[in-house]
Symmetry: C2
Subunit: 192 residues, 2 copies
Amino acid sequence: MGRTKDFDPDTTLVAAMELFWRKGYEATSVQDLVDHLGVARASLYHTFGSKHDLYLRALDHYTAQGADGTLTWLAEPGPVLPALRAGFRALAQDYARATERNGCLVTNTTVELVPADESCTQRVTVAYDQMERDLTIALLRAGAQGELAPNADPRALARFLVTFLQGVKVLAKLPDRTRLVDAIEQALRLLD
Amino acid sequence: MGRTKDFDPDTTLVAAMELFWRKGYEATSVQDLVDHLGVARASLYHTFGSKHDLYLRALDHYTAQGADGTLTWLAEPGPVLPALRAGFRALAQDYARATERNGCLVTNTTVELVPADESCTQRVTVAYDQMERDLTIALLRAGAQGELAPNADPRALARFLVTFLQGVKVLAKLPDRTRLVDAIEQALRLLD
DNA sequence: CAAATTCAAGAATGATCGTTCTCAAATCGG
DNA sequence: CCGATTTGAGAACGATCATTCTTGAATTTG
């Protein structure tokens, strides 16, 4: 059946994702990818199609592996709010302390390529919707468990958290990220 | 003294700003600028220097004219919180209802060019700091006027609002922006 | 009006863009 | 081991990139 690949497509995809994540779509040239991935030009095109296709694959991989701050810990049994607080604090801390200030690939894609790029628009919309849904479900459970004020609106709170988190992921690119610690503590006060 | 300019540099700068705002830095070519501005290639370079210089000029113009949501209404005498609420609601409504979903040039610059571009990093940092300062001053005044809870932290609240607003400016690029209305109402609850 | 100066339009620059092609080396199934 | 097939390295593609230069027309000053 012919020669086997000298490279692992999954590993290469991760490397491409990292480069797009750091430099953005337009600023990343195919030459950059060839240099950084250590994979031949022709192999890239044969395996992944075009540069744009590769970007979509990288974006899919990013959301699939939950690199945008997976919310799986929301579904664990027990009290919701303590877990949510701890998770959000950890997430913000990660963004505030990361040595590489790349932000979030979903957020970056939204700002750089939405709304002009329809494929990307559809993908980030799915990601945001999923995030909102996960948070809404968790907050509904919190309400049922008596953890929320009676007049709290779980879906509105979830929408707020999704929006606020995008702000965190923008300011995570700045040199000074001390702002984020204050901001997240205030945001979490809404869950009291 | 030679021939006079056939174009108004200020008008041209505004047109360039709009194009960068809509398409981003990398995706906007000099050819795009020539076509959209109706100004000769050589004139652009003679008047503004390089493409990068023009972008910085456009960014400066954007922040100077307060297109990123000027907060001048914060300094007006009288109660702070009603004005702040109304201003933030109006800002979010503008982003939610705008036909062109370009977001905010400062936010877009932060995501696309920070931290790699030092000139842009410095400029957006100044813009965020100024916004935080304006909000902090207003909230300090609100506290002095008894509008805030005794344990409220004006600077932390200001930092929260700056961060949250970046999230609004990201999600303002999505086709469906109903999320923003819920989000802003929740955010404003922190000022109760 | 004449000379000086600056304009606008676009050709031309070399570099780089994304993509395709060539081709020899490598590895598979039979 | 052999024909088939796919690999990797890089040349080559036309297009476009940001920038500079050439050219002739337009406008000002003297």
